[in-house]
């Protein structure tokens, strides 16, 4: 099946447009079901291998998924190959675990409520099959370790626990510093220990009547432990966190500052970018997103609300006030309007895997930048041009400030980003590619294309929305096009090695493959 009316037959040598298929959905809504605010997904991230996927939600929870299809041991390679041939294998995930990462808090000094909503999740280096990840809300970053722990069964104790409790005159099984209240008698264990070391002499061969408890364990369960909390470093809301390739440091960015942390040290960070003007009335531009270069430990990029991307070099100086490179698109003459500045604001940037390209998303477009070319983007993709006449409405209902994320495929040949009405778009960015696919976050992602065969030459924007769900009230524009600004697809992530996309539609996580 081909991706509908948009796809032009690709010239030889160009990658074929992808044929997207539905793979999985987690937390699907039934028709008419009310979405709880706390369940809305606010962050999605694959780990480096693509074997794990994490989502964060507005309720401060982090949910982990693990890939199931690569873990088939005991199947011969040949079998696998044949299966590959017969049924094309694609990443499949299953629910692994979830934990409460952040809780709502109240800053008493500033009289501010701090939401528990997870703004970003970033995976860290795996070690010993323990997973590590960073999660952040507006103010506080946390470092989590998720690990399988054996469920222990202790048997063959020296003392029968029930009797030990009764026989409290000699020993208690707790000490005063432990939080749990212990036994009725007051003799602390420390006292008995001292007695042992000073007055008791052990026979040279030891005491045969003592033995070690026997520990048996059959099952394991996953335990998430918060290892570190990096707090009190941001006056404004944290919009990004990003790991360095050195495996030792990461950055966190808020509206005006970027801080550098060592993963091991939670009580100090270094301010590396500060765009706060001496007088806040002079403020014209804020930081909207920041990311480390995937391989060069000294480079990072950050985007601004004015539509520019700055590349900075940490080697140059301790406080990187001056950028190494600035990427900006020159304004087209005569095109200026009230909305120009608002829609120029970049909501997300991502480095391509090789580190040469940066993808940026502003309200109307996706832009691909070559870091060796600062005169303008190498490619611009219109995400939802049909909204341009409606900017006024979008401004009225604040939708114009929605922050859409973007992502690149592992091979760097395609880019994707979200839009309204639970749609997301995939563009081919290899030179000469005209691939531009629209998908809907539903079980039938291509239905829009299928349902408009009669108008093959129409641009994508004219595809009529056919399906309504829930109680949403879609707007309909002059051409009969409908869009629904309440169902926006802000968060999505591309699998690092395969053509598989995970995207969030409200509380549901949809996965597609090609």
């Amino acid at each position: 099946m081909h991706g509908g009316d948009e796809v032009v037959a690709a010239p030889a040598g160009l990658p074929q447009p992808l044929d997207w298929k539905f793979s999985q959905v987690f937390g699907e809504r039934t028709a008419g079901e009310e979405v709880q605010e706390v369940d809305i997904i606010s962050a999605i991230e694959f780990d480096k291998t693509g074997d794990h996927l994490a989502t964060g939600d507005r309720g401060g929870r982090v949910v982990l998924f693990e890939r199931t299809d690569t873990k088939d041991h005991g199947v011969s390679r040949r079998d696998l190959e044949r299966m590959d041939y017969l049924i094309s294998r694609h990443p499949e995930f299953r629910y692994k675990t979830e934990f409460q990462s952040h809780e709502p808090e109240f800053d008493y000094l500033k009289s501010l409520e701090i939401e528990e909503k997870i703004n970003k999740i970033r995976w860290c280096q795996t070690a010993n099959s323990a997973l590590f990840l960073l999660s952040t809300n507006d103010k506080t970053i946390k470092f989590w370790k998720v690990q399988e722990k054996k469920v222990k069964k202790i048997s063959d104790m020296n003392l029968d626990p029930s009797k030990a409790v009764g026989n409290g005159s000699i020993a208690s099984s707790s000490n005063s510093s432990s939080p749990k209240p212990c036994l009725a008698n007051g003799s602390s264990l420390g006292g008995s220990y001292n007695y042992l070391s000073h007055d008791f002499s052990f026979p040279p061969g030891g005491l045969p009547s003592l033995h070690l408890p026997v520990v048996t364990s059959q099952e394991t369960n996953l335990v998430a432990r918060c290892r570190r909390v990096y707090g009190h470093a941001h006056d404004y809301h944290i919009n990004s966190i990003s790991n360095n390739s050195d495996g030792e440091t990461f950055i966190s960015a808020d509206d005006l500052r970027i801080n550098l942390w060592n993963l091991e040290i939670s009580n100090q960070s270094f301010n590396i970018v500060d765009v706060k003007p001496a007088n806040m009335e002079d403020l014209t531009e804020v930081i909207t997103s920041a990311e480390f270069h995937p391989t060069h430990c000294n480079m990072l990029a950050y985007s601004s609300s004015k539509g520019s991307i700055r590349l900075i070099d940490l080697r140059q100086s301790a406080l990187c006030d001056s950028h190494a490179k600035l990427f900006e698109e020159p304004e087209a003459p005569g095109s200026r309007s009230f909305f120009t500045e608002i829609i120029a604001s970049i909501s997300d940037i991502k480095f391509a895997k090789d580190g040469r390209y940066i993808l940026s998303r502003d309200y109307m477009t996706l832009k691909l930048w070559d870091i060796n070319m600062d005169s303008g983007p190498v490619a611009t993709f219109q995400v939802h041009e049909y909204l341009r006449p409606k900017l006024c409405d979008l401004y009225e209902n604040d939708s114009i400030f929605d922050k859409f994320e973007c992502c690149l495929s592992g091979d760097g040949l395609r880019v994707a980003t979200g839009s309204y009405s639970n749609l997301f778009r995939v563009f081919g960015c290899a030179p000469g590619s005209t691939e531009a696919t629209t998908l809907e976050a539903s079980k039938n992602p291509m239905r829009r294309q299928v349902q408009t065969p009669s108008r093959p030459s129409r641009p994508l924007s004219s595809i009529t929305r056919v399906v309504r769900r829930g109680t949403e009230t879609p707007g309909v524009d002059a051409n009969g096009n409908s869009f629904d600004f309440t169902t926006k697809l802000l968060h999505l992530a591309w699998h690092p090695t395969e053509n598989s996309i995970a995207c969030a539609a409200a509380n549901s996580l949809y996965m597609y493959y090609a």
């Binding site: 280096q125 070690a127 010993n128 323990a130 590590f132 370790k145 722990k149 054996k150 202790i154 063959d156 020296n158 003392l159 029968d160 009797k163 030990a164 026989n167 000699i170 020993a171 099984s173 707790s174 000490n175 510093s177 432990s178 939080p179 749990k180 264990l189 420390g190 008995s192 220990y193 007695y195 042992l196 070391s197 008791f200 052990f202 040279p204 061969g205 030891g206 005491l207 009547s209 003592l210 033995h211 070690l212 408890p213 520990v215 290892r227 390739s245 050195d246 495996g247 030792e248 440091t249 091991e264 391989t295 060069h296 430990c297 000294n298 940490l314 080697r315 140059q316 100086s317 301790a318």
Partner: protein
């Protein structure tokens, strides 16, 4: 199993608690591992306890950390050095955990044990362990391996040595930056055990690889080891192999690398001869003093004295002094502060003439710096200055600086200067002090900030110690006692504090004649806080004055206070009376 005899009960509990649900209890139990081992005896410790610990290693990090530490000193409990190898198994597992501090502790313990093991055991048990870790699947094991080579290497036979060197070489080029960092920071330890021929060939090759690493953090650590590595080499080899690297590093694109060089350069100078210092290191150092990045200049400025000490005075005057002049006017206050804290150390190196001619103007300009830390750093090194240029020259310029700091708007600055006052008094002498600083000391007693008033009272005590009771009678006491009439109760409270501190220093006579009447008078204050502080002061003066005075003056006063309407006053008065009784009884 519940047939344990009574005396064994605590130890039985202790053993059971190795697996308690409460982490705090497990921790306590692990901390007493040696007791458990003694109770089990050496043989069962080897055959049961150690395997038990090896198997139960998915505990919380805190428990694992404690276990790693305890096992490091466990050799006596497993039957001495010939059985030390049994401890390697649990520690090997701990070397692979995710938490850095646990791994570091396990490596530390392994080194402790390895350095006591017999040579054969090292070859049979320790070296294979190092090789296993170095080939570990996860980077955590490989990180730990790097810290163990220097123990395994010396006793290994020749072929094994070659193998170990090649394994270390691979670790220096590991995919994971964490492993390369560990290899870089442990290289000098390993290098210290390698024969000189291989040192020049293999180790230097590894060093050069690390110095060219893509990751700044790896290069940083390579620099850090430079000096230690340089000291292992002959001076000419060091000059030939390390020096060029350091000179390149001093011009590295990354300011953090240059910062590290600035910190390390002085130590490296000790390893190379005087000639390379003059031709290579001095120019490199001068460049760092003039670096674009303030952080680098801070590090370099902080080493100015140490560097001058290894140079001839001529070179120091010709090359370093001009930079110091520039740094004293640096745009970054932190650079100036770093300079201020060490610059006076240059004086003995430069000699008196150069000091007065060149260094003194720098010094004076730093004393007038707008940033208080700079001035404070200078004043804190006053004794060094005094030796060289004498107090007369100094006092004219010093005084305005001190007065200004004494009135600084930040109370921490005022606090810092108060703490230097006894040092100043000592250096400046009584005469100068009376004229200029006496007033300040009184002024601080009435500061707005409690910490300052408290420090001021303490300062008076230290001055009284310095100059003696007679001086204090003349210069401190009258002014201090005047505060008794102050309308602000907090100031009157400061007076009481000062009296309680001064009493023991000034002795019984002055206390009875001058201080005690004031205190007794204060017991009639209208503020209860004053009154219970009177009770406290009286209590503290009991040991200072004669028994008769206690009975005649202190006791009646306390008795009166013990009937005060205020509960706190009564409480402290009763406390005072009790301690009088105790003193009376014991005498």
């Amino acid at each position: 199993m519940s047939t344990v005899e009574a005396p064994l009960y605590p130890i039985a509990v202790l053993i059971d608690e190795l697996k308690n649900d409460d982490i705090q209890i497990r921790l306590n139990s692990i901390r007493r591992l040696s007791t458990i081992a003694r109770a089990l005896g050496e043989e069962r410790t080897r055959s049961e306890l150690i395997p038990f610990l090896s198997e139960n290693n998915d505990d919380d990090d805190e428990v694992l950390l404690a276990m790693a530490e305890e096992l490091g000193v466990f050799i006596p409990y497993v039957g001495g050095v010939e059985h030390a190898y049994v401890l390697l198994t649990p520690l090997e597992t701990l070397c692979t955990v995710e938490e850095t501090c646990v791994r570091d502790k396990a490596v530390e313990s392994l080194c402790k044990i390895g350095s006591q093991m017999r040579e054969n055991d090292l070859i049979e048990w320790f070296t294979p362990l190092v090789k296993r870790l170095a080939a570990g699947e996860w980077f955590t094991a490989r990180v730990s391996a790097c810290g163990l080579f220097h123990i395994a290497y010396p006793s290994a036979p020749e072929t094994l040595k070659t193998e170990l060197r090649s394994i270390y070489g691979q670790l220096c080029q590991d995919d994971m930056p964490m492993v390369r960092r560990s290899a870089a920071s442990n290289l000098w330890k390993f290098a210290g055990t390698v024969e000189s021929a291989h040192l020049k060939a293999d180790i230097m090759q590894m060093f050069e690889d690390l110095t060219q690493d893509d990751q700044d953090t790896v290069r940083l650590l390579a620099v850090e080891g430079c000096a230690a590595l340089g000291k292992l080499l002959e001076p000419q080899d060091c000059a030939a192999r390390i020096l060029p690297v350091i000179v390149t590093f001093s011009q590295d694109k990354s300011w953090r690398v240059r910062y590290m060089v600035a910190n390390q350069l002085y130590e490296l100078c000790e390893a190379v001869g005087p000639e390379p210092i003059r031709t290579d290191l001095l120019p490199a150092y001068v460049r760092l003093l003039r670096d674009n990045e303030a952080e680098v200049r801070i590090a370099a400025a902080g080493k100015v004295t140490k560097f001058c000490q290894i140079l001839s005075p001529e070179l120091a005057i010709q090359h370093i002094l001009p930079c110091v002049k520039e740094l004293s006017l640096d745009s970054s206050q932190h650079v100036r502060a770093a300079l201020a804290s060490v610059v006076m150390g240059m004086a003995p190196v430069l000699g008196k003439d150069a000091t007065i001619e060149q260094l003194l103007p720098i010094f004076l300009s730093l004393l007038k710096d707008e940033f208080p830390d700079v001035r404070l750093n200078i004043i804190s090194k006053l004794d060094q200055v005094n030796q060289v240029i004498g107090i007369d020259l100094l006092s004219q310029s010093l005084l305005p600086a001190i007065v200004e700091l004494a009135e600084d708007r930040h109370w921490r600055v005022r606090l810092a200067i108060i703490e230097y006052i006894p040092l100043l008094a000592n250096q400046l002498g009584v005469g100068f002090f009376d004229d200029k600083l006496g007033g300040l000391c009184m002024q601080w007693l009435q500061d707005k900030v409690y910490s300052i008033r408290d420090a001021a009272a303490n300062n008076l005590k230290r001055l009284a110690e310095e100059f003696g009771p007679d001086w204090a009678m003349q210069h401190i006491i009258p002014q201090v006692l005047e505060i008794a009439n102050d309308s602000h109760y907090l100031h009157r409270m400061t007076l009481l504090r000062a009296i309680s501190l001064l009493g023991p220093v000034l002795g019984s006579e002055i206390t009875c004649s001058k201080l005690l009447p004031v205190v007794v008078n204060a017991s009639k204050d209208r503020v209860p806080n004053i009154k219970f502080n009177v009770a406290k002061v009286l209590q503290s003066l009991i040991s200072v004055v004669d028994q008769s005075v206690v009975e005649k003056t202190i006791r009646p006063c306390l008795v009166e206070l013990s009937e005060d309407p205020d509960v706190d006053v009564r409480y402290f008065a009763v406390q005072g009376l009790q301690s009088i009784d105790q003193v009376t009884m014991s005498s």
